[in-house]
């Protein structure tokens, strides 16, 4: 299976009842990104539904982070388009999004100043920044570290700060590029809790991960990428239990799946 067909408005719940599907917030079609003739993302189609948590899975080099950057507008696609609420992605749409990177990019300033910077960039009045920062610090459990230089924090604390900074800009959609990579379980739990809280508050989440357990814990929808192509895309409940594509079946069962050539696949 590749990308889903035209966005269905209804789906069948496990019990057999019909439930309405959330409206597409973001849609990428024919998304292609080539470097020197090599297609790193190849004709990908993704639908991100409002209020849901979409997890992008796939092996190393599948193009997961690249897809995230293309959808967030950090990179211009070679071909294809990205729509936000049915219209091409523009500056205003990008301001309604936020992204947290695998390696948190923190300014050479204090924890508090990193948060204040994001608010200043968004034009928040100085007087309104203080309570917003206090709330964000409390939510990320970083209040006691607010005066510390951000770059002396532990990896988990830095990622919590990056996530808090992203969330305090009030995004409708949050992109997360492997936010818990190389973090210990306690830090992973703290990050996942923040993601769940944001999701509960209505933020749509798109998360890239290598961690099957994390996908099972967080995903409403799953996109599985293989060699830059969408191998499978659909509800997590179905894809993680009954995958239709061979790459996802192999990935879920822990088998090595090597795609040597576009035309010939090797299953080990």
């Amino acid at each position: 299976m590749s990308a889903p067909g035209p966005a269905p408005r209804r789906a069948t719940a496990p019990g057999g009842s019909v439930i309405p599907l959330a409206a597409p917030l973001m849609e990428a079609s024919g998304l292609t990104y080539s470097v020197r003739g090599r297609r790193l993302v190849d004709d990908a189609r993704l639908v991100i539904r409002e209020g849901r948590r979409t997890v992008i899975l796939g092996p190393n080099g599948a193009g997961k982070s690249l897809v995230l950057r293309l959808m967030h507008g950090l990179i211009t696609p070679t071909a294809g388009r990205v729509d936000w609420r049915g219209a091409p992605l523009d500056k205003a749409a990008r301001r309604a999004q936020a992204m947290v990177f695998q390696r948190p990019v923190l300014l050479r300033r204090s924890v508090r100043a990193n948060l204040a910077f994001a608010l200043a960039v968004r034009g928040v009045a100085r007087a309104a920044r203080r309570p917003a920062i206090a709330t964000a610090l409390e939510r990320a459990r970083l209040t006691h570290l607010q005066s510390q230089p951000a770059r002396v924090l532990s990896g988990g604390e830095q990622q919590r700060l990056a996530l808090a900074r992203a969330l305090m800009t009030g995004p409708e959609l949050l992109f997360l590029d492997e936010p818990t990579a190389s973090l210990d379980p306690a830090s992973t739990l703290a990050i996942e809790t923040l993601i769940e809280e944001a999701s509960a508050a209505g933020v749509t989440v798109v998360l890239v991960t290598h961690d099957r357990g994390q996908a099972e814990r967080l995903a409403d929808d799953v996109v599985f990428l293989q060699s830059g192509r969408v191998a499978e895309h659909g509800p997590a409940s179905r894809l993680l239990s009954a995958p239709a594509s061979e790459p996802l079946r192999a990935w879920l069962s822990g088998r090595l799946y090597v795609e040597a050539e576009k035309s010939s696949r090797i299953d080990i």
Binding site: A98, V105, R108, V121, R122, P149, A166
Partner: protein, 234 residues
């Protein structure tokens, strides 16, 4: 006069706070600090612009800035002299043989150093921050400001490097200042003059002061770097 007596006499001048010596040191520091401040005002934004923004001719700008780091002081002195001399386009200002002319010459020498080193600092930082800034929607002006602020410790080192170059400069300031006693006589020009006259005491005394300033500046550079690294602001 033998060298031993000259050295003893030099330290005597330094320790006694000789008025002539103090005046020369004061003017040297005043001219140099003014030039460094002017060079920072021009060079920091210029370097930040070349380091942070993509525009046609950016690489050419970077090459020119790097090349101008090695501007020959006597050539700069000659050009400033021609501009400020009575028959020059700025002759009407009457700045030739004044400390202001020396500040102008030193500013021209130090600005490329500040701009080129700033470009490198800002470019490295920008490579690290670019995606995050794009994601946050940081405006170009705010981006340049943030990069300059986050590079503050490295840029302080840049300013100190500019100071080191300016305080030790002799060729340009002697041409545009004229080395006039009590008017434009600074440490380097005095050393050149007094050595040619055989007055080694004053020349050596000023040499000691120059070396001390060089040591202090280098110690400050190292201290700033250590401080920044310890606070993880490097």
């Amino acid at each position: 006069m033998d060298l031993g007596h000259a050295i003893i006499g030099a330290f005597g001048l330094v320790l006694s706070g000789d008025p002539d010596l103090t005046e020369i040191i004061g003017l040297s520091l005043s001219v140099t600090l003014s030039a460094v401040i002017a060079a920072c005002v021009i060079g920091l934004p210029l370097g930040a612009a070349v380091g942070a923004f993509r525009f046609p001719g950016r690489t050419v700008c970077a090459v020119i800035l790097n090349a101008f780091m090695g501007l020959p002081p006597v050539v700069v002195g000659l050009v400033v002299y021609l501009m400020l001399s009575a028959s020059g386009p700025l002759g009407v200002l009457g700045l030739l043989y004044t400390p202001t002319a020396m500040v102008i010459a030193q500013t021209i020498l130090v600005t490329p150093i500040v701009a080129a080193l700033t470009r490198q600092v800002v470019e490295d930082l920008n490579a690290e921050y670019a995606e995050q800034f794009a994601s946050l929607g940081v405006s170009p002006l705010a981006r340049a400001g943030a990069l300059l602020w986050d590079g503050r410790y490295s840029l302080l080192t840049v300013a100190l490097a500019g100071f080191g170059r300016a305080i030790a400069e002799v060729g340009a300031v002697i041409i545009v200042g004229g080395n006039i006693n009590h008017v434009t006589r600074v440490m380097t020009t005095t050393i050149a003059l007094e050595t040619s006259k055989g007055n080694l005491e004053l020349a050596l005394a000023l040499g000691v002061v120059l070396l001390t300033i060089a040591l202090i500046v280098n110690a400050m550079v190292m201290a700033v770097r250590a401080l920044a690294a310890r606070a993880a602001y490097a």
